[in-house]
């Protein structure tokens, strides 16, 4: 098991380097001059511009800039934004917000998605099954930002139950954006659970369990569910990483000061250091949770071999 994890860890290194270089190259190598963008309408003197360029290594070739950047990262230095604030500060301040939002979303995704999927899968063709099918199809069809507006309109304006902007009301203010962030994954989880359960219910071992004289609740709740949930649990695990990156839309609509909102603001302001720092972190989380899922999968399914 330990060797298996070590091997998987090694494999993630080139991916992490590749992805972070990709971000770095996009932000720094493509047309558009961050210094001029920063200056905006105010003209900066040549001297000041040159000094800024030197400070941010903008005159080095791209690969050297990247190596210097990674060298900094390894020492915990994510660089500074144009106002001189350390990017790490921004991350430390905003990570808990995004983490909380993602946690709320995963909670909704798992609880609602699983329950809906299990009930639909057990009674295929029933009214509830069709309801789940139609609802999930609709949810998947509505883009998340539209869903955000629908949620704000319904629960913020029509029936003012939830706060629709900011995080001033503690965990309560995370509920609506969390649900919106979870919506797409929630629909997938419900669908996946339904299909997986229905597929497993047709397996021979379910017939064996019935032939053993086990209670229907044990046949489904233990024998079938234990097998059906393997793909679902791994999906949810891998989704945690994606949810954090997906927060960019939700945090923007609901005005939540998390990492996604920071990326959005920094992209518009062309704050390269902040964008690269946070997005690299997103990639790291994505890879990390995929690694967790690989391990989880091996633990859940005895047929998987570690070597």
């Amino acid at each position: 098991m330990g060797r298996y994890i070590a091997r998987r860890l090694l494999l993630t290194i080139p991916v992490l380097i590749g992805a972070s270089f990709l971000i770095f190259a996009m932000v720094y190598a493509l047309p558009g001059d961050p210094i001029r963008a920063l200056a905006g309408d105010r003209p900066l003197s040549e001297a000041v511009q040159a000094q800024l360029r030197a400070e941010y290594n903008l005159d080095d070739p791209l690969w050297l800039q990247y190596v210097k950047y990674v060298g900094g990262l390894l020492q915990g230095d994510f660089g500074t934004d144009f106002s001189g604030r350390a990017v790490l500060d921004t991350i430390e301040q905003r990570l808990p917000v995004t983490a909380k939002l993602a946690a709320v979303a995963v909670f909704f995704e798992a609880v609602i998605g699983l329950v809906a999927g299990i009930l639909a899968g057990i009674r295929r063709g029933s009214f509830f099954d069709n309801l789940v099918l139609v609802t999930t199809t609709l949810i998947v069809s509505i883009p998340v930002f539209v869903l955000g507006f629908v949620a704000q309109y319904l629960f913020g304006l029509r029936f003012p139950i939830f706060p629709t902007s900011g995080i001033n009301e503690g965990l309560y203010s995370y509920l609506l954006p969390g649900l919106v962030l979870a919506s797409l994954s929630l629909a997938y989880v419900a669908r996946l659970t339904r299909t997986s359960l229905a597929e497993n219910l047709r397996q021979d071992y379910v017939r064996t369990a019935r032939a053993k004289g086990l209670k229907p609740s044990v046949v489904v709740g233990k024998h079938t569910l234990r097998n059906s949930l393997i793909p679902v649990v791994t999906y949810i695990g891998a989704d945690v990483g994606s949810l954090m990156a997906g927060a960019i839309v939700t945090e923007t609509i609901f005005n939540i000061p998390g990492l996604g909102r920071a990326v959005y603001d920094s992209v518009l302001r062309q704050e390269g250091a902040v964008v690269v720092g946070i997005v690299t972190l997103f990639v790291f989380f994505y890879i990390f949770f995929n690694l967790v899922v690989d391990v989880l999968y091996a633990l859940l399914d005895p047929r998987i071999r570690y070597d």
Binding site: D204, Y205, V218, H223, R226, R303
Partner: protein
């Protein structure tokens, strides 16, 4: 032939599948009995309804699309079909137990074999976790799995095919059932392993006195282990009798065809004669005798009233020795041919 009271009696059992393409009669008014210590073989090719019939007996028919539409299944005199779900459940395991063709797919891949066997004791007798586990190890030992204590902690995929079927048998025998249904227990196995498994089943039957209902298409297996045989074709019983009688002197052209299509040691050098044609699609069973399109003895013209092979369904009627029956209009002729 045993004379004891039958433990399991199936009377006029009918099963149909309701599919989008129409209703399919998979099992048509079949009857048979299994006595204590007796081995009854149900012989038939795929699609003859033999597996479906025992699934109906076991109460594990996939429903929908399968439905029992008539008949009785008497276990120790009680009709299981009209019993409550709870009563039926109580019979599965301690009363009737079942093993399947493919043990790899029939065992749950994510639980250890020890756990799956112990589950029988836990579910039916409320045995403690520890005792159930000990009992499971004992059972594994009884079906001759080496290092049973260690192997109890293994998962099904870690066993060979033959060992897996032994696990299956151990699980089925956990609660000393009165009847064991074995649905093609050796089909998925190598020939040498097949023989070992059949030997094991016979050994266990001798020890426990259980009735054995063996579903198979293998004439050799039937000849070796069964006392009586029920031959099925297209959802109906076409012939029944003791193995000796049926094998030496069949009374139905289908059975005749089966005997002629397998090599027999004493008939070395003679040509095998396969049955011409293919088994019928159950959604389109031929009218009259279902076997008539393939039957070398069919009479289509100038048949006496009520004996026209493509019009009149032949009933299962006594022929020859007591206890024998055949569903052929010309059973007497076939018997004495």
């Amino acid at each position: 032939m045993t004379t004891s009271d039958p433990v399991l009696e199936v009377e006029d059992l009918s099963v149909e599948f309701r599919t989008p393409k129409g209703v399919v009669r998979a099992v048509n008014e079949i009857s048979y009995q299994v006595g204590t210590g007796e081995t009854l073989a149900i012989l038939g090719e795929s699609g003859s309804g033999k597996s479906v019939s025992v699934q109906a007996v076991m109460g594990i028919l996939d429903s929908p699309p399968g439905y029992v539409t008539g008949g009785r299944v008497l276990f120790e005199g009680r009709d299981l079909l009209t019993a409550s779900a709870e009563e039926q459940r109580a019979v599965r395991g301690p009363g009737i137990s079942m093993i399947f063709q493919d043990a790899l797919s029939a065992l749950n891949p994510v639980f250890t074999v020890g756990h799956q066997i112990a589950e029988m004791f836990r579910a039916h007798r409320g045995t403690s976790r520890k005792e159930a586990r000990e009992a499971a190890i004992e059972l594994l030992d009884r079906v001759h799995i080496p290092a049973a204590r260690r192997r109890a902690g293994s998962f099904p995929h870690q066993f060979s095919g033959g060992m897996r079927q032994r696990v299956m048998i151990a699980m089925a025998l956990a609660l000393d059932p009165k009847v064991l249904i074995a649905d093609e227990p050796t089909t998925a196995l190598d020939v040498t392993v097949q023989a070992q498994i059949m030997e094991l089943l016979q050994e266990l039957q001798r020890d426990t006195g259980m009735g054995l209902l063996l579903i198979t298409h293998d004439l050799g297996v039937v000849n070796e282990v069964a006392d009586r045989v029920v031959v099925m074709y297209a959802g109906r019983v076409v012939e029944t009798g003791t193995v000796d009688e049926v094998f030496t002197d069949p009374t139905h052209p289908y059975t005749e065809g089966l005997m002629a299509s397998v090599p027999a040691v004493e008939a070395k050098g003679t040509r095998l004669r396969p049955i011409v044609g293919t088994p019928p699609d159950l959604a389109r069973i031929p009218p009259g005798c279902a076997f008539h399109p393939r039957c070398p003895r069919r009479v289509l013209e100038n048949a006496p009233p009520g004996k026209d092979c493509d019009d009149d369904v032949p009933l299962l009627l006594p022929v020859g020795a007591p206890g024998r029956a055949s569903a052929c209009h010309y059973r007497e002729e076939v018997l004495h041919a």
